[in-house]
């Protein structure tokens, strides 16, 4: 079998495991997103509560994993406790290569344990390990450190773990892997927590035979050269994604103080340039990625109680967390931002949702919708990193109804406390950092997982600057086509930062060299069918485009394309869903 097709099933309730070969499924649909959504359709009972043991966790890799550079991602499928619908999340680190070289195309985790455990998967051997001694541990860093010592396979393994946020079922808790990469956004960490699953470690070092080794080496070289010698990936390997801060801020597209503004007067403090100059301590890479986009800031801090006593903490920075925990909260003091980021990382929260939730809470606090009683005395106020650090801890600890609700996301919190018009979530997911124009929002509303990475509307907005927007029908179609093609990349599963390298021709050639025949046209068809299936799943679980809410705030604050016209959004969204085969537009 050229395509990895063995599926490891683990039943946490009965503490059993077995493998099945799904050759036909993987042959037909390659892997990743395409196989994952089909497994989810099958595994996830209709209408299941996301915290029910029957909600599966499905991890899938693809046909290029372990073979080509930048095929570095694993996709996780599950039902999201944040949106109550499709859960789909991507992470790199060593996850993908470890899963494939352990011998698997996918891992399906069912059931729930009664006591805290972690799973150790070393090739064909699978162990249920007691995790009661690491449950409730303060920091995801420490959990990683302990498991590193306990388990074999250094350099050949992934350690996916949750923080206290996942244990406490915060709906936007993430799963951390290799300390700095995340299955973020849709609450996979909380699903782990609901299963009392603290971590999953996978190790393997098998070989992958290929049909045509000579051609394989040749195509590999071409892809490698494109990645390291052309400008296709420059922004990721120089300043990293944080290089977006300056241009988006200048454009007036950087959401600031809960999007009351789209320019942050202290934006340059948070810029990639500034962070590199003052803090960049190390760059690291996911397995099989020459780019090394993971930028780590070295924060050196003195201890107040002992002279000449310092600690240095390595804290990851990227554009999205800089937006959500920075400009969105009015934090222009970088050290404050780094400390807040470190807290969010230690606890295992999604940085974007956390920031957007706190931004809503700050505005609600200012407007008197909530008061010190709700916040338990925390003075939520723009720019106050220390107050936000306290609030983050309380979101995880959940000592009262307010923080419990805030831990359910901004959609829910605004339902209970008001402030809907400035609760910035789409389809139940807190918004990403792009107030670039209407296409970004069309993408947030329509995308299968309501992510900016579904269809990159923000990128189209920027392309159309100065040229005028396409009419809304065309915009809807454009967003659909982009999302459909991304289903192919997500089936392989390559990093979306490498999307310019993996065009249809290159993908076809890369597959052929290892023994998989797929024409560019066949690939495109696979993308469309996969995207339609995602929407079929979403409809099955109760998603209705008519229920989509446009928060008034996005219409009030000027974007680089001027004020956003809700009519444009409605028409584009309607067209998109017509393309997707599910009827209806916004209500």
């Amino acid at each position: 079998m050229v395509v990895p097709s063995k599926v490891l099933y683990v039943d946490l309730s009965r503490r059993r495991f077995w493998t099945e070969d799904w050759g036909d499924l993987f042959e037909a649909y390659l892997g990743g997103a395409s196989v994952g959504i089909r497994l989810l359709m099958d595994e996830c009972p209709k209408g299941v509560d996301p915290f029910d043991p029957d909600n599966p966790i499905i991890l899938v890799v693809g046909p290029l994993t372990g073979l080509y550079p930048l095929a570095s991602k694993t996709v996780a499928f599950f039902k999201s406790p944040l949106t109550g619908n499709l859960g789909e999340s991507y992470a790199g680190g060593r996850s993908a290569v470890s899963i494939r070289l352990a011998g698997y195309g996918a891992i399906v985790i069912r059931g729930a344990s009664r006591t805290p455990i972690y799973l150790a998967i070393h090739g064909r051997r699978v162990y249920f390990r007691n995790a009661s001694g690491i449950w409730g541990m303060r920091s995801t860093y420490t959990v990683g450190r302990i498991i590193r010592e306990l388990e074999p396979g250094a350099g050949l393994r992934t350690i996916m773990r949750i923080g206290v946020a996942g244990e406490k079922l915060v709906r936007y808790a993430n799963v951390v892997t290799e300390t700095y990469r995340h299955f973020g956004r849709l609450g996979l960490g909380a699903v782990f927590g609901s299963k009392k699953l603290k971590a999953v470690i996978v190790s393997g070092r098998s070989g992958i035979p290929v049909r045509n080794p000579k051609e394989f080496r040749k195509v590999y070289r071409e892809i490698y050269e494109k990645a390291v010698t052309t400008s296709l990936m420059r922004k990721y390997y120089e300043l990293g994604t944080s290089m977006n801060i300056m241009p988006l801020n200048e454009l007036g597209a950087l959401p600031t103080r809960n999007l009351r503004d789209a320019r942050f007067e202290m934006g340059s403090n948070l810029s990639g340039e500034e962070l590199a100059r003052k803090f960049l301590g190390r760059r690291v890479a996911c397995t099989h990625c020459p780019v090394a986009c993971i930028h780590l800031a070295a924060l050196r801090e003195p201890y107040p109680d002992e002279p000449y006593f310092y600690k240095t903490t390595m804290i990851p920075y990227d554009y999205e967390p800089l937006y959500a925990l920075g400009s969105m909260l009015g934090i222009g003091d970088v050290e404050g931002w780094l400390r807040l980021m470190d807290e969010v990382e230690s606890l295992g929260l999604d940085a974007m949702s956390t920031g957007v939730a706190l931004a809503w809470a700050t505005e609600a606090y200012e407007g008197g919708l909530i008061g010190p009683e709700e916040t338990m005395g925390v003075e939520l106020s723009w720019g106050r990193a220390d107050a936000y650090i306290q609030a983050v801890r309380l979101i995880v600890r959940q000592p009262n109804e307010f923080y419990r609700t805030l831990g359910m996301g901004v959609e829910k919190a605004s339902e209970v406390y008001g402030g809907r018009e400035f609760a910035l979530a789409f389809g139940g997911l807190e918004m990403p950092g792009y107030h670039t124009g209407p296409l970004a929002y069309v993408g947030f509303m329509t995308g299968g997982r309501h992510s900016h990475l579904d269809s990159a509307g923000y990128s189209y907005d920027q392309k159309f600057l100065g040229k005028g927007l396409p009419d809304p029908e065309e915009a809807g179609k454009l967003i659909f086509r982009e999302e459909a093609w991304r289903q192919v990349l997500n089936s392989l599963v390559v990093c979306l930062f490498a999307r310019k390298i993996y065009d249809a021709e290159t993908v076809s050639k890369a597959l052929k060299a290892v023994g998989v025949e797929r024409s560019p046209e066949e690939l495109e068809k696979l993308g469309v069918s996969t995207l339609r299936l995602r929407h079929e799943f979403k409809a099955r679980e109760g998603f209705d485009p008519k229920g989509l809410r446009i928060p008034r705030r996005i219409l009030e604050t000027r974007s680089p394309h001027g004020r956003i016209d809700p009519e444009y959004l409605r028409k584009a969204v309607e067209t998109y869903f017509r393309e997707a085969g599910t009827s209806g537009g916004l209500g």
């Binding site: 350099g155 300390t179 070989g207 290929v210 099989h288």
Partner: protein
């Protein structure tokens, strides 16, 4: 110009530049026609977590290789100028060499039940994007 035999080795010239991408490990297996790591004779792992950086383990072509001394079938022979040469046909897969190497630079191929020993070809060097590795002459101090 007379061509002299020059013993080369893969040198880790600056481990602080290593980002942990493991492209060298893939290059090594790929040279033998495989994806994945089963044939790799070089290894990259973190020094206790990604935040602390990485260590790169590869045969340093030592002048008096201990692996040679424990091979029961003489499948491993010293190479002129440092390092070893392997005759896979003679190797019975006992694994003594893996244990004998103090830098743990001999890796085990589970699928073939044979050791992976660096052949000093420099393929990995060509795929190191950040200047960690170099092919250089073995030079005694």
């Amino acid at each position: 110009m007379t061509l002299q035999h020059v013993a080369r080795r893969v040198a880790v010239v600056d481990v602080n530049r290593c980002v942990g991408c493991q492209l060298c490990m893939f290059a090594c297996s790929r040279k033998k026609g495989f994806g994945g790591f089963s044939k790799s004779a070089i290894m990259v792992r973190s020094v206790g977590g990604f935040e602390r950086g990485f260590t790169v383990i590869v045969c340093r072509a030592c002048p008096d290789p201990p692996c040679v001394k424990v091979c029961p079938t003489d499948a491993l022979r010293p190479r002129e100028g440092g390092g070893v040469l392997v005759d896979h046909a003679e190797c019975i897969g006992c694994g003594n060499c893996v244990e004998a190497c103090p830098v743990r630079a001999i890796f085990w191929d589970d699928e073939a039940q044979k050791p992976n020993v660096c052949v000093y070809c420099g393929e990995c060097v060509q795929y190191c994007p950040h200047g960690v590795l170099a092919l250089e002459e073995v030079s005694p101090w």
